[in-house]
Amino acid sequence: MVVMTSRDDRPRHLAAAPDGVPDDPNDLLSRVARGDEAAFSALYDLLAPRIFGLARRILRDPAQAEEVAQEALVEVWRTASRYDPTKGSAASWALTIAHRRAVDRVRSEQASTERERRLATEEVPYDDVVEEATARLERQQVRRCLKGLTDLQREAITLAYYRGYSYREVAQLLDTGLPTVKTRMRDGLIRLRDCLGVAVG
């Protein structure tokens, strides 16, 4: 396998360190691990829009999204020393933390009542998810690769990632068997990985 090709390490806003050198999230994170608050501030600028946007997408509610983004970003600070660069990019690591936090929140009790009702009554909502996802696409490559999936692969992945549904809920929403949904999530992600050229190792 090749080393680190994932594009998501590129600085988003050409943030510059005081000496004028553009910041790289992995470098910043290793400085953050040593307690460097200035590095954290620069890392925030690189990651916060994706972390906040992801929380907002999953939770819908702006106030909750802010809370979850804050929790996730503070966790990045707190646990920076546990980041292992051989396990993926700094951005991927931080987004994993943020996604998990947002999913935990959306599945929490107050949310679950409403979700259960929605599961029981809602007609398959994946169209709007996919539409919403595609409408706001800013990243051509991700959009192109998502389009390269089968409908079922794409629906299963976007319902889980953008809405926080478990694969059981996805199976129910798509009226599809559990083994099929599990398999489509995996082979869909594999296809997406290959299309995006994500390699870690």
Partner: protein, 237 residues
Amino acid sequence: MNTDIHTLAGAYALDAVDDIERAAFVRHLAECEGCAQEVTELRATAGRLADLTELEPPARLKDAVLAQVSRTRQAGGAPPAASGETRWRRWAAAAVAAGIIAVGAGAATFVIEDQRVRDAQAQAAQAQQIATILNAPDAVVRTTNMAGGRVTLVTSNALDKGVALVHELSNPGAGDAYQLWLIKGDRPRSVGVLAAGSGDGVKVFGDVRGAGSFGVSHEKVPGATTPTQPLVGGLTL
């Protein structure tokens, strides 16, 4: 390699599994080198989906985060002893006993202290029991939030067994503990007491058939013979 559990790789990378499946999958990862690589890549792939959600946060968020950061101590390389997540994951990790792991997928949260593994064999046996319950065709999973944390209960009538996973309940206070109960009719039966002062734990128990509800109470160590009311939380079975 357990190919059946491995089909969960995609769902795991998408956080589309419940706590118990996650624990079972993490255990699987520890035993399967290639799987860890795959999951790391699938997680990185899923992370790319966040590119499509980019949204400028309000400026106050940065102020709030930086303010909190300036008063938040960083964790060392190993997690603090009080980390609920670590403790909760311990049983799954200990199940593999061998040379413990910081497993994949950017899951840097997963670090285990050596000293924690002393009871590895007992925990491995427990993990095996848990896996058996999880794999029961009639296994029913129920989750509820209480006391700032979460309790997941899996029961199988066919096996007449259940397992409760208690995760990050608020600290009951030194000298106090959370106690778990199954209630049949109006008769509560204790199915385990968590460690004193702890809000995390895993309990496996039998005789679940016919139970109408499950409850958690707050008790003085070493536990009570009937649950102190009001219960901290509960589930209807």
